[in-house]
């Protein structure tokens, strides 16, 4: 039986990891962006933790976190991560718990939300390059249960983030650098890997 996945715990743990890693994310963004990604995300996830309802279905928790991230992060990543969490929450509906299938649908909804809003495709050197392999990895491992599937998701996201290094950015601020964006990891892909690592660690505990 899958462990009861606590969405609030995910958001809190993600916030911890982001806070600890904010400077690295900001340095990545300084290389090919404008040096604010870590701080933006830290501000957003801090607000998300504060906005977590005391109780309520996991779907509502993710939507509350998503709204807070939209209203506090700023920059490109705010609306994108906010929309991702709100779509994931919406996909979970009012269910009291999250089973493997539901989590998969939520992750896929998050990906769709990000691509719909940001219009980025695979290879554009954005967070989408971490999300696409992550969602695929989840689906492939879903039958092994949430813990295993989320671990595979996190690993795929981390791999995806690393694979943005040789890419030339075609979306977001980094795209202004053209070929000069090659050789640098995309900060949004890196933070997506971090947030999905948090999910895996919560699912495993």
């Amino acid at each position: 039986m899958d462990p009861v996945l606590d969405m609030a715990a995910w958001i809190r743990h993600a916030a911890e990891l982001v806070a600890a890693d904010a400077d690295r994310l900001t340095r990545l963004d300084a290389e090919i962006g404008d040096g604010d990604h870590g701080h933006n995300l830290n501000r957003g996830f801090t607000a998300a933790v504060a906005a977590l309802p005391d109780s309520g279905p996991p779907g509502k928790i993710l939507m509350a976190a998503g709204r807070a991230i939209v209203s506090k992060t700023g920059g490109a990543s705010g609306p994108l991560y906010g929309t991702a969490l709100r779509r994931a929450g919406k996909a979970l509906g009012d269910a009291e718990t999250v089973d493997a299938a539901a989590l998969g649908a939520a992750l896929r909804a998050a990906l769709e939300g990000v691509q719909e809003l940001g219009q980025a495709a695979a290879g554009d050197k954005t967070m989408v390059d971490a999300l696409i392999p992550a969602v695929a990895a989840y689906d492939a491992a879903a039958s092994d249960g949430i813990a295993a599937a989320t671990r595979a998701t996190a690993e795929a996201a981390a791999k995806g983030a690393e694979e943005t290094i040789p890419l030339q950015a075609r979306k977001g601020r980094a795209s202004y650098l053209g070929p000069r964006s090659i050789g640098h990891e995309d900060p949004g892909a890196s933070s997506t890997a971090l947030i999905l690592r948090a999910l895996a660690e919560v699912a495993a505990s």
Binding site: G35, H39, G74
Partner: protein, 331 residues
Amino acid sequence: MKKLINAPADVVPDALRGLAAAHPSLRVEVDDRIVVRADAPRQGKVGLVSGGGSGHEPLHGGFVGFGMLDAACPGEVFTSPVPDQIFAATAAVSGGQGVLHVVKNYTGDVLNFKMAAEMAEDEDVQVESVLVNDDVAVEDSTYTAGRRGTGATLFVEKIAGALAEAGAGLSEVAAAAREVNERSRSFGVALTACTVPAAGEPTFQLGEDEMELGIGIHGEPGRERTKLQSADEIVDASLSAIHTDMSLSGSEVLVLVNGMGGTPLIEQYVAYAAAARWLADHDVTVTRRLVGPFVTSLEMAGLMISVCRLTPELTQLWDAPVETPALRWGR
């Protein structure tokens, strides 16, 4: 990091408190992070709202007032404002004739303004958006997020602001704003980088004898890093890039020679001398001009040149009275 600030996280609210104290003609909601004309909303007038990351002062808060913006939403430094701010500003200036959003073409600005516009529509406030993308440094816009919005934002806000002040309708004001954008091009050069207070170190490193060609206004690197050149050569490179993208010959233009924040006014005038000569040599007539640090990038040393090919109507709107902290004439 040497800055005249308190805690890095307080730079934006502190500066807003200073803007409020210095300009009684503005209503500044520090917590909500919006700057509004004290006499807003003006019934029957199209409201003009813009905003973006802080660090470009006086853009945008310094352009709020008679004949220009009705409200501005400053995000954190170099970080787009959030939908809540933009919606609050939109509601505050809605006088029953709709609101125009002036949006610089950065993914963050576009997405946050888009979400705010949806929130406004939900409250029956009609919103039109104009995208400012005047920066020619970004050549190939099919494989990028599109050209950045830089110096021409000031042209758009002043000219659309004058038309709105004159009582024109939303679609007319939006059309004029788009026309100004389409007739404007900019190009920037950085001699130094700048430091986001929260980051504590420069966004990029430049050698003592290096400069960045085609920089944006968020301290992000530009098109090309080259050896430092003279003011005349830098102005030639900038105007040539603009001219190659939009021919200026034979036209009457408005020119902004803009210091990026750390370059002193004496150097901006050295650059303007070169710009005036270059334009004359290329059969371009300068009928309006502005020299100074209007669209900056924190303490970055550098220059951005923006040129708008004027029409008689646009000239008349540019000349219309304006009274904001950063621009004031005619009253």
